[in-house]
């Protein structure tokens, strides 16, 4: 009987298992395999070159710059988005009127494809915002995508416009699940609002914080679409992310094996980040 049940359940799992294996797990191993070849992506010949690609990566300035940009973009996003999302969630949860309207207004941008968001901000910075300078008689430099020093800031603005509402909703759900009596008890014990926030609200929000931090980090490490329609990795190579660099190397530059080695570094980083974050943040969660 047990065995029969097991077999029936197995039949339910197998199709998904196979599709997932072909679509994602085999590619994962393919990238490992090709990363030790000098394959150009087209020819039949795939010469084995050992770790040569990986050694070259360490001396490749373009590759290191791409990682450097990706890391700065990721750290910037993780800090700004978490802080803003939590701040807005607390503000909306503080009992202001028409909460739902604000919620929708902040959320809608994340429904838009990143490729469109990139284009919108390209036009915002170059055409629309300078007009506001004229109205106000101010002299802000809004051409953020035009200078390698400000391009990161411009992209952070675009990315935050798109995603803050999404993470805010997650924090909002977390806040609304904090039982009111916990706050009451802390109040009776003489804790002020700030103390209550850090000692009651934040620990209770731990699962939401885990989700947001992991989500924002992995989301930022894979940035690509946003760049295609806004900066095209420029000016120069100032906003070339790791995926963008892999794309140019492997597909435009016909160095598939070398590009695969880049893919492998990204996968390793993603796995490490996920492990560290899940382990580190889970410890802080409180059991109720």
């Amino acid at each position: 009987m047990e065995k029969k049940l097991f077999r029936q359940y197995l039949v339910l799992v197998i199709p998904g298992f196979i599709i997932f294996t072909i679509g994602l797990i085999i590619p994962l191993f393919l990238s490992l395999r090709y990363s030790v070849t000098s394959w150009d992506g087209m020819s039949a010949e795939k010469a084995f070159v050992g770790l040569k690609n990986y050694i070259e990566l360490f001396h490749d300035k373009e590759f290191i710059d791409a990682w450097w940009f990706t890391i700065k973009f990721t750290i910037g996003n993780t800090i700004i988005q978490n802080v803003l999302a939590l701040l807005f969630a607390v503000a909306l949860d503080s009992g202001i009127r028409a909460q739902k309207i604000y919620r929708t207004a902040l959320f809608v941008p994340c429904l838009i494809s990143a490729i469109i968001v990139g284009f919108i901000w390209l036009k915002m910075f170059s055409n629309v915002l300078p007009e506001i300078n004229e109205w106000l008689g101010t002299n802000f430099n809004f051409l953020l995508f035009g200078d390698s020093k400000t391009v990161l800031g411009g992209l952070l603005i675009a990315n935050n416009w798109q995603w803050v509402g999404y993470w805010m909703l997650i924090y909002l759900a977390g806040l609304q699940s904090v039982p009111g009596d916990l706050h009451e008890a802390a109040k009776v014990d003489g804790a002020n609002a700030v103390q209550r926030f850090f000692h009651v609200t934040i620990p209770m929000l731990a699962p939401a914080i885990t989700i947001c931090v992991v989500g924002i980090t992995t989301g930022s490490l894979k940035v690509y679409d946003l760049l295609v329609s806004s900066t095209k990795g420029g000016p120069g190579r100032a906003s070339t992310s790791i995926i963008y660099q892999t794309y140019t190397t492997a597909i435009n530059g016909r160095r598939y094996g070398y590009g695969s080695a880049m893919t492998v570094t990204l996968v390793v980083v993603l796995l490490m980040v996920a492990m560290i974050q899940v382990k580190g943040l889970r410890k802080k969660e409180v059991q109720v």
């Binding site: 049940l5 029936q8 359940y9 339910l12 799992v13 199709p15 998904g16 298992f17 599709i19 997932f20 072909i22 679509g23 994602l24 085999i26 590619p27 994962l28 393919l30 090709y34 807005f88 503000a91 949860d93 503080s94 009992g95 202001i96 309207i101 604000y102 929708t104 207004a105 902040l106 809608v108 429904l111 469109i116 284009f119 919108i120 036009k123 915002m124 629309v128 416009w161 509402g165 999404y166 909703l169 997650i170 759900a173 977390g174 609304q176 699940s177 039982p179 009111g180 699962p207 939401a208 989700i211 490490l221 690509y224 679409d225 329609s229 590009g259 893919t263 993603l270 796995l271 109720v288």
Partner: protein, 287 residues
């Protein structure tokens, strides 16, 4: 969370008084978030003359729809729109069936293999497919999946399954196991139990899954640009992105195209907001 607790919570929330300063600050923030959307809408109605001669913030004199007509034509709308809709609908339908049964089997069967399966699927959440776009393209090429309709649908399913299984597994605890057990004693097979007893109880979870995945697939760019290059197979996002580079000076058409592509998903969100939020907040809330 129990019903009583929720009621108490609501009372507590409703007694909170909003601070007018916070209200004003949030109004400003919301206005800043809406502003770019207003700009898109505004541009989409402008004539060429208005675009070049007037301030970008000036309202158009009339609601002329020329840009929409042009966008419709340039995007090859009757093809790309139907393509995107078809890819999204078929992928999401298959995903709903697959993720439901997979998650149910994982939640119900205590065998080690199913525990392994859960972790195996989660790998796909930790490593987003964008990171693996290069080998994903290669395998598609080798299996003759590129430039076919079933190929891109297959890939949307393969890349969406991780999140779907995660989502559905977390919903499974809401399905009472007693019903299934009594059905089994009556001689019901596993499959019939699922489709007659479990599936109807999963409706809200399914709605959540469908809308979360639909919005991802509808907006996808990387996979679609890698897998389909033939004109008659292209998706809306890919068509729009080529419009962006082709029309860098006359971008009113592009703006109209943006409105056309965002509207369906915005309407879907507005009508199914409840399920959307449920899907996003899985795991974020205790209890």
């Amino acid at each position: 969370m129990t019903g009583k607790k929720k009621e108490k919570l609501r009372e507590e929330v409703s007694t909170k008084k909003g601070n007018p300063a916070v209200q004003a600050a949030m109004t400003l923030v919301a206005a800043m978030y809406i502003f770019p959307l207003f700009v898109i809408g505004n541009y989409s109605f402008k004539t060429k003359k208005e675009l070049y001669l007037e301030s970008p913030l000036a309202l158009p004199k009339s609601l002329n729809l020329d840009n929409y007509v042009k966008a419709f034509d340039k995007l090859n709308m009757q093809t790309t729109f139907i393509n995107t809709l078809a890819y999204t609908a078929v992928s999401v339908f298959v995903l709903a069936i697959l993720c439901g049964v997979t998650a149910w089997a994982i939640a119900r069967c205590k065998h080690k293999f199913f525990k392994f399966c859960y972790v195996y699927f989660i790998v796909g959440i930790l490593i987003p497919y964008q990171a693996l776009f290069l080998p994903i393209y290669t395998i598609g090429y080798k299996l003759n999946l590129t430039n076919t309709r079933y190929g891109i649908v297959f890939m949307y399913i393969a890349t969406g399954i991780s999140f779907g299984v995660f989502l559905m597994t977390s919903f499974m605890s809401t399905v009472p196991i007693e019903l299934e057990e009594s059905a089994r004693i009556d001689g019901c097979s596993v499959y019939r139990t699922y489709f007659t007893i479990v599936l109807p109880l999963l409706k809200p979870a399914m709605a959540t899954l469908i809308i979360m995945q639909a919005f991802q697939i509808w907006n996808d760019y990387l996979l679609a640009s890698l897998y389909v290059s033939k004109k008659q197979l292209k998706t809306l996002t890919v068509a729009i992105s080529s419009l962006f580079s082709a029309q860098s000076s006359d971008y009113t058409t592009a703006m109209a195209a943006i409105v056309i592509s965002v509207l369906p998903i915005a309407i879907l969100f507005m009508s199914l907001q409840k399920y959307f939020i449920k899907g996003m907040t899985v795991g974020a809330v205790k209890g």
